[in-house]
Assembly symmetry: C2
Homo-oligomer: 339 residues x 2
DNA sequence: AAACCTTGTCGAAGCGCTTCGACAACATAT
DNA sequence: ATATGTTGTCGAAGCGCTTCGACAAGGTTT
């Protein structure tokens, strides 16, 4: 391993000078800088991360805590994770991947050991047990997702309330008066992950204002669960003409079932999905959807985190405005059945 | 921050003793050990990662390089990543998340800086540009995926050759004589990621032995691409009764199209997918499939890596045997049409 | 009782870097 | 000409840990 001292010797300067060339924290003359940089090149020098961390008490690493579960929104999580890793690199940070498994202990371990300078938590629950720890430390952190109480925390999330409202508006405008929400799996609600409820709240209150009736049914993904759920919905509200699907893995089953039942999309029934664009465009019907902006969420989270690390930036809740893209799965409500 | 010196003082021993208690590298008397452990507890001591890395030249971090792309097999990648992170923790290692973006530079950076002790590479191409670097360093590494030349490398992968053969056998046993392979997107082949070709090779050679004709068509995911592909297949081989699908996002479109065309699965047409079990069980037909054992791949990769880190273990290619699970999408070939 | 292990502990050196204060060397203001 | 900055460089002190050799204290073997 080439050390800084060797570079210094090679360039004929002191170690501290090399260090200052690297960090830019003091001015260096052109000549010296060039000689040093050349030596670094020639020797193939890479600063030792451990030594650096020890001396500066900064590791240049941010921790990213991803949920252990792989039962929902996996592509979204992955996309966020990759966006986080990619943007963090542009700020000179690396990303440490933690799984939810260790829970609060991981937070303690990472803060305690100085392994990471800051952390990003995904899949935050309404009353997450990691939050007190975050509040009690001075290590900067950003949450992706919105807990119940946000004082003293920085959060990034899609504005799911507005997302719900947007869906309601779009369907209402098209004349739908009876809509059904295919929600996440019951487990998601029990886990209190917030976003599902916030979507629903937004959708319900806007629907009320617009005179639209809403039926909400949680639904496991998959074909079988969807069959049961759909049957129940049409039992209770035969006049349902609009669907909002929040569960990615319910999308295809729903479309297939509607086809089977001879209900045409969008002529007889309209469907809006809340999902990544990729899912919306690859489905068997090109879906009108509200995108989950995974990349942007990851990017924003990193930006906020860096701001905190640099002393700028404060606690704030950054809600990303939802955008609805009209595709081929929504259309005017059919005239009420003659029956 | 509590330091080791403070713990030592609190426990009334020297710093080195505390260190030995922590590492277990020398024997310590019961009494001392207990006093030290108690002090650690009381003071809430966490060893400083940087100092540790500097002094021991081991960071206890393994790097995981994931593909930047999110166009294929994302859930598989995520599951592998999580399995890697989880198993690494059981060995006391943390995981640094690198994206493919930086390419070979990331390898250089990480090896050079001692940021990580070892690395795992995913999505390895046949002639991957990172391989020479890995061969040229003494940092242990494990590949998930199989490059063209494996000398001096340790690899983990599903035995895709055997996977293809298994599919051929299953369909042949059921009496199918004309089968079609719905392959990955053309881009995957151009990228030379190997696994797609290996599956095909295995399938073709076994088919030949069994007297089964094979038609192979790459296919982008999605409904539209599948429509075109399927039409071409039935044009060229109207008697096709078996399908092997390797592209996750082609599964649902294929099933939907077959339904539309009045071809019943499995009565008229059999379908085997190469995909994670979750996809197979959640599809609109419960799919006979060869599972992609993401978890096991991640776990095995870590095991091999740890073995190398501990001086045990050598270069080897660990191919995981495929397992075919029969579900509801395959059945006996129909009697040849009377025409 | 001498000689030899074994076990448990300590002190000190050093890992490779950052950063502070000091200080030449030179430019600018008085 | 002296006082006052500026700029560029250096030396040294540490950051918190691991690890090596040294060495008491006690146990075993002759």
């Amino acid at each position: 391993m080439v050390t800084l001292a060797e570079v210094a010797q090679h360039a004929g300067v002191s170690a501290s000078t090399v260090s200052y060339v690297l960090s830019g924290k003091r001015s260096i003359s052109m000549g010296t800088r060039q000689r040093v940089e050349q030596s670094i090149q020639q020797l193939g020098y890479h600063p030792n991360a451990g030594a650096r961390a020890l001396a500066s008490s900064r590791s240049n690493i941010v921790a990213l805590m991803v949920p252990l579960r792989t039962d929902m929104y996996v592509p979204v999580m992955m996309e966020i994770a990759i966006a986080v890793a990619t943007s963090a690199r542009t700020y000179g940070y690396d990303v440490l991947l933690l799984t939810g498994e260790e829970g609060p202990d991981a937070v303690r371990r990472v803060t305690g050991s100085g392994l990471a300078d800051a952390m990003i938590l995904m899949d935050v629950e309404l009353d997450d047990e990691r939050l007190p720890l975050l509040r009690g430390t001075d290590q900067p952190s950003v949450l992706i997702g919105l807990p119940a109480a946000t004082e003293g925390l920085t959060c990034v999330d899609l504005d799911f309330g507005a997302t719900g409202a947007l869906c309601a508006e779009h369907l209402a405008e098209l004349g739908h008066r009876d809509i059904a929400v295919i929600g996440e799996a019951p487990a998601v609600y029990e886990r209190h992950t917030g976003f599902a409820e916030r979507t629903l709240d937004g959708l319900r209150s806007r629907s009320r204002e617009l005179g639209v009736r809403v039926l909400h049914r949680p639904c496991e993904g998959g074909f079988d669960a969807m069959t049961v759920t759909l049957a129940r919905i049409f039992d209770e509200r035969p006049g349902t003409t609009g669907f909002v699907v929040q569960n990615e893995s319910a999308v295809e089953p729903l479309l297939a079932l509607l086809r089977q039942q001879g209900r045409a999309v969008p002529e007889d029934v309209s469907v809006i999905a809340v999902c990544p664009d990729q899912v919306a465009t690859q489905a068997s019907v090109r879906l009108t959807s509200v995108a989950i902006p995974a990349q942007e969420m990851g990017r924003r989270a990193v930006e906020l985190l860096i701001a905190k690390l640099e002393g700028r930036g404060s606690d704030e809740v950054a809600l990303i405005s939802p955008e609805l893209t009209v595709r081929a799965s929504t259309g005017p409500a059919p005239a009420p059945a003659a029956s």
